[in-house]
């Protein structure tokens, strides 16, 4: 196990390094670094001085080493727009994004599980067919358009929910959170639902498939034969067993939820790091772009690493297989 752990850690480190090269080359070599790093207001003399100061006259590999050393010290440059460290800007907005992502995952289980359970227990009823058709729509509908439609219905026509921003926040562990206030929750409802839509469909399908499979198992038949009430069979015997895979998959989706929050945050003007990156790309605030990409890559690699390690703990075949190759 230790050997596997070390190997896997080394692999992850290698990927981080590779991604840092890609991001570096992407931003510093494909784009014009002078234009990227020096304010467009600067005159010719200032430019030349800045080129030397920033080390842009050095060969590319040396520049990369400088970039890497600074990045390791947590210095990913200053934002042009805010004139603050890019890393700080992103970390400031991270709670908003995480809050939204976790809210969406919570919603997907809250809505998806009961619907999937119903569809699995009564596969032939018209309601179940409606649920399944709805889940196909959930997969096909473009997220951003659904967001707009939510705003149109609930904010413009009915006037029930606010359409933009985070609302009031309350402080917990030194960070600001919206889910602790009523106003914040009402601001969070639509974006979270929008972000959850895809996951709801996923949970419905997983639960339905799980229920249909589990209902045929011997232990369910036995529980029924014992004369247990259908409710007890469903909620204790069936439900417990489908919960584990469903929760696992939803957990795995955390990363992609955070990535797709870019879209939802833009629609609802949610001040998270997804909105920040889109704004930064639009105004070419490259240090923030680099910092965002590095952070999110790091996040993904960490999530993947944790998932792989958990799997190998649960399923020894994975470990043994990787030893063989």
């Amino acid at each position: 196990m230790t050997v596997y752990l070390v190997r896997r850690l080394l692999q992850a480190l290698l990927v981080v390094l590779a991604m840092s090269v890609i991001v570096f080359v992407g931003v510093y070599a494909i784009g014009d670094p002078v234009e990227i790093l020096i304010s467009p207001d600067a005159d010719q003399l200032e430019r030349e001085r800045a080129v030397v100061a920033l080390g842009l006259d050095l060969p590319l590999w040396q520049q990369y080493l400088v970039f890497l050393t600074k990045a390791l010290q947590g210095d990913l440059g200053n934002s042009f727009v805010f004139n603050e460290p890019a890393l700080k800007l992103i970390l400031q907005r991270m709670p908003a994004t995480l809050e939204l992502a976790f809210g969406a995952m919570f919603l997907s289980i809250l809505v998806g599980l009961p619907l999937g359970l119903y569809a699995g227990l009564r596969p032939d009823s018209p309601v179940s067919k409606g649920i399944m058709a709805g889940s196909i729509l959930g997969f096909s509908l473009p997220t951003f358009w659904v967001g707009l439609m939510l705003i149109m219905v609930f904010a413009v026509q009915l006037g029930w929910l606010p359409s933009t921003g985070r609302g009031d926040t309350a402080s917990l562990l030194g960070l600001q959170w919206s889910f602790l206030t009523i106003d914040g929750l009402s601001h969070m409802a639509m974006p979270a639902l929008n972000l959850a839509l895809f996951k709801i469909s996923l949970v419905i399908r997983l639960t339905r498939a799980g229920v249909r499979e589990t209902m045929l198992m011997d232990y369910v038949k036995f529980a029924r034969a014992k004369g247990l009430s259908p409710a007890r069979v469903t909620f204790v015997h069936v439900f417990k067993n489908i919960l584990i895979p469903v929760v696992t998959v939803v957990g795995l989706e955390l990363g992609s939820t955070i990535a797709f929050s870019v879209v939802t945050e833009s629609v609802f003007a949610w001040p998270g790091m997804g909105k920040l990156i889109i704004d930064s790309i639009n105004v070419l605030d490259r240090p923030v772009i680099v910092a965002y990409l590095m952070i999110i890559v790091l996040m993904f690699i960490t999530i993947n690493l944790i998932v792989d390690l958990t799997y190998s703990l649960l399923d020894p075949r994975v470990r043994l297989e990787s030893k063989g190759t």
Partner: protein, 308 residues
């Protein structure tokens, strides 16, 4: 399993009589699902609209001479200064939304299908190579595939567009980079099974050149799953392009796809002028769903495990 190589080398088989050819069987199996036929009809209609948009729209939405700012933000059904009815309303420039959507479909479909096609070529070639060469080539290519698939598509596309900037070509490049891995994985999986068959051995015994074995013998037999993946990926590409354009990272304002049309209507949404965003969204939705319905049925028909 359809044996395309046999058909290719022996065209002598008479086709006029009612012998059940693989193609006929495929067609009749596809037609078993009414939903899929509906999807195919709708998609064909959409494709025709997109192709013939310049001849059937009441105005050219990007010819400024034909636009009248006085017609701006008209509700659906009003008749404008030029004398025709705006069935789907107009946007802030006085542009007929119906014409705008038809032109937008052209761009969405071109970008979606074009990028899917290029990604298919790149991905299928690399997948074939990985399966046929094996060893280090295989593990190098598949490592790359695994690495890329561990990141969500929107993130990869975002990264590439952050490097390259806006523009139709850049969107296509981003979509190709996002998608090739799906094709590569699919083709490699099938090709690994197929390359152990006798006909490959026979081709190798004949000392045919590698590229000929790959593309004339191996590839045709990997086509069924590839077609299914390609159909689904076209829908995904269209949706992703729309998302990127909505975020302002995709196509330029002069060549608006459906996603950009929706984005344009965003600011008018709050004042109740829903149609500027609503109808392009419906067009996008119908396109994606119809392609997915066809893809679903193709998957059922072409899946050898479900064969009766």
């Amino acid at each position: 399993m359809s044996d395309a190589t046999a058909n290719g080398t022996a065209p002598a088989t008479p086709r006029k009589d009612k012998v059940e050819t693989p193609f006929r069987r495929f067609v009749s199996e596809f037609c078993e699902s009414k939903v899929a036929i509906g999807g195919l009809i709708v998609f064909t209609a959409i494709a025709l609209i997109a192709i013939f948009a310049p001849w059937i729209t009441p105005q050219n939405p990007y010819d400024l001479a034909q636009l009248d700012i006085m017609d701006g933000r008209q509700e659906p059904g009003t008749t404008g200064g030029a004398g025709f009815t705006f069935w789907l309303g107009t946007d802030d420039q006085g542009r007929d939304m119906m014409s705008g959507i038809m032109y937008g479909l052209r761009i969405s479909l071109t970008v979606g299908a074009g990028s899917a096609l290029i990604a298919c070529l790149v991905g299928a070639s690399l997948g074939l190579l990985a399966a046929y060469a094996g060893g280090r080539t295989d593990s190098a290519i598949m490592r790359l595939v695994d690495l890329q698939l561990s990141f969500p598509s929107i993130l990869v596309a975002l990264m590439i567009l952050a490097f390259l900037g806006k523009g139709i070509m850049n969107v296509v490049i981003a979509l190709v980079i996002v998608e090739w891995a799906y094709y590569a994985r699919t083709v490699r999986g099938t090709a690994l099974v197929e390359r152990r068959r006798e006909y490959i051995e026979a081709a190798q015994c004949l000392a045919l050149p590698t590229h000929r074995i790959l593309f004339r013998h191996l590839l045709p037999n990997c086509l069924p799953p590839l077609i299914v993946v390609a159909t689904m990926q076209v829908a995904r590409a269209i949706a992703l392009e729309a998302t990127l354009s909505f975020l302002g990272l995709g196509v330029p304002i002069t060549e608006p796809s459906l996603g950009l049309l929706i984005a344009n209507g965003y600011e008018y949404m709050l004042s109740g002028k829903y149609w500027i965003s609503f109808y392009p969204g419906i067009a996008l939705l119908v396109t994606i769903v119809s392609i997915n319905l066809v893809g679903d049925q193709l998957r059922d028909v072409l899946n050898p495990r479900l064969k009766k």
